[in-house]
């Protein structure tokens, strides 16, 4: 079958919940360029065969940067919130390798200015794991935190980088913060076709770009899927 996207849905449990606070359910399995991946409901990508968790666009320190630049003073809790979700993903998957696909910090100064407790928390998460910071456009330089710093990274059939490149094959990237609107709800989403996979933004204070936007529609093939984050990860044809 052209497009080679036989989706392998993991068994969906049915999280009963009170509204406003739903338990995270299960992920959505994707065969991508020879790798069996799971798009997690949180927006993280899990590659079980490599024990690898990939997240993109954490934008840690966003509220600090806004305040520093004289803009609005947003509640300074988003970094904590983002890390808490990341911890939950690490615990659920038991990942040994973590790759942050760029724009992990809102800018270099935000990375330097992380409060003590955040740094400690990050270090605790890094302990016993291989941790890779891929460079993004917001945080180009290496930072003083642990872990390796790479422009991009090849792993088996896949290449991991921040921004999608023309003609790439087996590429996993972030940067665009894709989202879709469906049945009256707006959801961050993964986009995937037979050559490319784009991750949603993982950071708490991050906006999104509709998949219809030409910037995204032009990147993805005609049979691309959108995999929605939310209580359960679900696939739909990418709206365009």
């Amino acid at each position: 079958m052209e497009g080679a996207l036989p989706p392998l849905p993991f068994q969906a449990n049915s999280p009963r919940s009170i509204y406003g606070k739903m338990k995270q359910g299960t992920g959505y399995g994707v065969e991508f360029c020879g790798a069996s991946l799971e798009a997690r409901p949180s927006g993280a990508l899990w590659w079980a065969a490599r024990d690898m968790l990939v997240v993109s666009d954490l934008h840690l320190g966003k509220s600090e940067r806004m305040a520093r630049l004289g803009g609005a003073v947003l509640p300074p809790y988003e970094t904590l919130e983002t890390l808490e979700r990341l911890e939950a993903d690490l615990e659920a998957t038991g990942a040994r390798v973590v790759v942050c696909l760029g724009d992990s910090f809102d800018d270099a100064a935000a990375a330097r200015g992380l409060p003590e407790d955040v740094v400690t928390r990050l270090m605790r998460m890094q302990a016993g794991r291989d941790w890779v910071w891929i460079e993004g456009n917001h945080d180009p330089g290496p930072v003083s935190l642990g872990g390796a710093h790479l422009a991009e990274m090849e792993v088996g059939p896949l290449v991991l980088r921040h921004i999608a490149e023309d003609g790439a094959q087996g590429e996993v990237s972030g940067h665009y913060h894709p989202k879709v609107r469906i049945a009256g709800a707006s959801r961050r989403c993964f986009l995937v076709d037979d050559r490319r996979l784009i991750l949603p933004a993982y950071g708490t204070y991050t906006g999104g770009l509709r998949s219809r936007d030409p910037a995204l529609a032009g990147l993805m093939g005609p049979r691309a899927l959108a995999i929605l984050t939310g209580p359960v990860a679900r696939a739909m044809p990418m709206p365009r």
Binding site: L5, P7, R16, S17, I18, Y19, G20, K21, M22, E64, A67, R68, G70, G71, A72, V73, L74, P75, P76, Y77, E78, L80, E81, G113, P115, H175, Y176, H177, R181, I182, A183, G184, A185, R187, T204, Y205, T206, G207, G208, L209, R210, D213, A215, R223, L225, L228, G230, P231, V232, R234, A235, M236, P237
Partner: protein, 802 residues
């Protein structure tokens, strides 16, 4: 010093026009030295002239340097209208007076010039005034200011725009201690409440009551066509309305929402076989379009204007001799003020026609007519001034220069609306402005304001002033996007809501400015459209202004329902009520009627609580939460003043346990936390207090949107800092207005468990209008999740991907 008799220049001029000075105009002149004075006069009573006469007389002697009188009105259009009206007497009497207006539409070069070299009389809006007081040179601009005239003060009295104005007035009073305040109000139920807002607290404010004039000639429009069972547009009445337009010189046709005005105008135009010149005017239209209509009105070239609240206030649009209100008026006071639009002649009755849009509204219109006859105006007292507006005021104060906190606090305490503000409450606002007010903040870079050695507060970054000024204002509408034509130079047509724009697919059609256009795509931040030949548009869901039906009116309706028959109602409506009684039941005082039926592919639950829109909305939040917990998969709800309609995937056959008072009380705090109404309230407060700033010097759009939803901020604060000032403000606002839990309790007390449950197989006559209510609140729970799953599966199957 100011003789109650006019100088001869004035009496001569009045005489040359064959005019007489009304008693209240003379009295305003006689009492011109009062530090504050409130005039209550009916529309058409020469209110505005009464406000300006003392200014004109004082300035006629010449020799005044700089600004003398500030005139503030709630509408931009009013400011330019008054400028036109003032220029006639000034020119004809040859008075040495310069008059200018200043609104958001004034070019920035002229605004700058006005600050350096202000005219004698400046006509402006609360927003523009707040902006002017935020400049470093405010003291120079306002030097010599003697009077401030607040026109249509009743329209500002119950809004945050008013609160912003009272605060700016306190600032002005400090700059100009001799400033005298004048308020001009239409007929209201509680003049003392408005006087309290106008005066410098705790000074008294005398109230001057003009002769209210004769009762208006107001009735319901009789049509051959019957009003529909449901629907909001009133298009059934178009032939009858056209007939009325033909028989009058100029007719104003009011609608309650912009969307309805658009649809009505479209249909009216299709039926306008004689090609009568008819225009449309509402707040979402592009300014040049609006101005064209305004100008044509003034020149008497239009026979009718279809409009919304944007034409509500005392603009003198020439020879209006008939006002038609389409849709129920919702509020008797507002109706009376609207009617005053017709016949701007003193002591002539205004003529108005009510056109109920559907049969429920027939009942409401009849109830409203009775209330007008009984002079039974409605209104609820407003609580103390909201603190989000105070936060904005503190930031604006900082823009004007360093300030002393004790001085600013003392100044704020002279504002009637903030008279009960405690120092601790003020300090919280200052703390919020200075540091964001977060439990965790620790760094210099979180300081928006900083204290110098003398303890005076400054902006940490002076460049922030520009951003703060750009975001002054208290009108937080839903986000709007501009609509422009794709070809022909991208002519702007107006604005639509962002959420509506988001739903549009290429090729969709919608109405704007009375024409049908086709959606082509988003370019930068504007919606691009082309002309469309379609005759049936997808409807534009502009929110417009939604009025809440007053308690008095609701009670009148409930009483009317109890009659055996309804001779005062048109036969069709009486029959309809009879049908409801036959199929289901009519709501009764002391009982609660609940209907359950399938409709529109969903299970519907309809409760006739008659507790007012806000309380019914709160009930909706509590009930959907309970339903979610019980696995009934609610999808959303909508509240009207009379009823609450909940739709979902499962039928509710036994609502009694849902409605037990114990169950409703249980977890009040819990549901309050995570619901959509609270988030909406928070969003508003966050924008007013400038936690979120919507306007930036230049749109910084990259490939990725920089904005994110205020809901995320709300969730974050709720989790990490639930006692934050903005959360407190949100709770205060919600309790006073949007939540109104007290009225739910009152309703439950009235009902005492007497609940009548009707399970039916289809929509009932009385429930039908609810399906057209705007302001539907989605419930994001398992029901929504089921829909997302189904829709995703359907799309996958359609694409052959399963």
């Amino acid at each position: 010093m100011f003789p109650p008799v006019l100088p001869s220049t004035f009496t001569d001029w009045f005489a040359s026009r064959g005019w007489q000075v009304h008693p209240h105009q003379a009295e305003m002149l006689g009492r011109a030295t009062e530090p504050s004075l409130l005039l209550i006069a009916p529309t058409g009573g020469g209110k505005t002239l009464a406000g300006f006469l003392p200014t004109l007389v004082e300035l006629s002697e010449g020799g005044h340097e700089g600004l003398h009188t500030l005139y503030v009105s709630p509408l931009k259009a009013l400011a330019s209208d008054i400028r036109r009206n003032l220029s006639t007497p000034i020119d004809e009497m040859g008075l040495p007076i310069r008059v200018e207006d200043r609104t958001g539409d004034t070019p920035s070069s002229r605004k700058r010039r006005q600050r350096a070299d202000p005219p004698h009389i400046l006509l402006t809006t609360p927003e523009s005034l707040a902006l002017m007081t935020s400049y470093e040179d405010a003291a120079r601009t306002f030097k010599g200011l003697k009077r401030i005239v607040v026109d249509e003060i009743h329209a500002l009295a119950d809004s945050k725009r008013g609160d912003q104005l009272w605060l700016a007035m306190a600032r002005l009073q400090r700059l100009c201690p001799d400033l005298r305040r004048v308020g001009l109000s239409a007929t209201v139920e509680d003049p003392a409440a408005i006087a309290h807002l106008l005066a410098k607290h705790p000074d008294p404010c005398p109230i001057l009551q003009a002769d209210p004039g004769p009762d208006p000639d107001i009735r319901m429009l009789e049509t051959e066509e019957q009003p529909p069972w449901s629907g909001g547009g009133g298009s059934y009445a178009i032939p009858a309305i056209l007939d009325q337009v033909k028989r009058h010189r100029t007719t104003l046709i009011f609608h309650n929402t912009r969307a309805q005005a658009e649809i009505f105008f479209h249909n009216l135009w299709l039926a306008n076989e004689d090609g009568l010149p008819i225009g449309i005017h509402h707040g979402s239209l592009d300014r040049t379009q609006r101005e064209r209509v305004e100008q044509a009105m003034v020149q008497g070239r239009l026979r009718a204007v279809v409009c919304t609240g944007s034409l509500d206030l005392g603009i003198d649009w020439g020879d209006v001799d008939l006002v038609i209100q389409v849709g129920a008026p919702k509020n008797v006071k507002r109706l009376v003020q609207r009617i005053g639009r017709a016949n701007h002649r003193y002591n002539a009755p205004s003529k108005a026609l009510l056109v109920p849009a559907n049969r429920f509204e027939v009942v409401e219109c009849v109830a409203a007519l009775e209330a007008v006859q009984d002079h039974d105006l409605d209104g609820d007292p407003r609580g103390p001034g909201p603190r989000d507006v105070l936060c904005q005021h503190i930031l604006a104060t900082a823009c004007a220069g360093p300030f002393d906190e004790a001085e600013v606090f003392a100044e704020v305490k002279t504002v009637g609306a903030y008279a009960s503000l405690s120092r601790a409450q003020f300090d919280e606002c200052l703390e919020y402005c200075a540091t964001g007010g977060y439990a965790l903040r620790a760094y210099d870079r979180w300081q928006r304001l900083m204290q110098d050695d003398q303890g005076r507060w400054h902006l940490r970054d002076p460049r922030a002033a520009q951003l703060i000024r750009m975001n002054l204002g208290t009108i937080v509408d839903t986000d709007k996007v501009k609509v422009r034509m794709r070809f022909g130079g991208g002519r702007p047509l107006g604005e639509i809501e962002e959420s509506f724009a988001a739903q549009l697919e290429r090729g969709d059609t919608f109405l704007i400015g009375g024409r049908i256009v086709k959606y082509e795509g988003l370019k930068e931040t504007a919606v691009e459209v082309t002309r469309s030949a379609a005759t049936k548009p997808k409807i534009a869901t502009f929110a417009g202004t939604k009025f809440a039906t007053s308690t008095q009116l609701s009670q009148r309706i409930l009483r009317m329902f109890q009659q055996e028959s309804w001779p005062e109602l048109p036969r069709h409506t009486a029959e309809w009520l009879g049908l409801q009684r036959e199929i289901s039941a009519l709501p009764q005082p002391g009982r609660l009627l609940v209907e359950s039926f399938p409709f529109d592919g969903r299970e519907q639950l309809c409760l006739y609580g008659f507790a007012g829109r806000n309380a019914m909305q709160t009930l909706g939040l509590i009930l959907t939460k309970r339903m979610e917990e019980m696995g009934l998969d609610p999808l959303g709800f909508v509240a009207s003043d009379y009823a609450l309609l909940i739709w979902g995937l499962e039928a509710v056959t036994d609502p009694v346990p849902l409605l037990s008072p114990a169950a409703l009380h249980d977890g009040l705090e819990r549901w309050l936390a995570g619901n959509a109404v609270m988030k909406r309230t928070f969003r508003n407060a966050a924008h007013v207090a400038q936690l979120l700033q919507r306007n930036a010097p230049q749109a910084r759009k990259t490939g990725r949107q920089a904005t994110f939803s205020s809901d995320i901020l709300y969730d974050t604060l709720l989790k990490y800092d639930p006692d934050h000032l903005l959360m407190e403000i949100t709770r205060e606002e919600a309790m006073r207005g949007l939540v109104d839990f007290g009225r739910i309790e009152e309703m439950l007390g009235r009902v005492e468990g007497r609940i009548d449950v009707m399970r039916l197989d289809r929509v009932t006559p009385l429930a039908a209008p609810l399906f057209l209510e705007v302001g539907k609140v989605p419930v994001d729970g398992m029901g929504r999740e089921r829909l997302v799953a189904e829709e995703a599966e359907r799309l996958m199957a359609e694409a052959g991907l399963t």
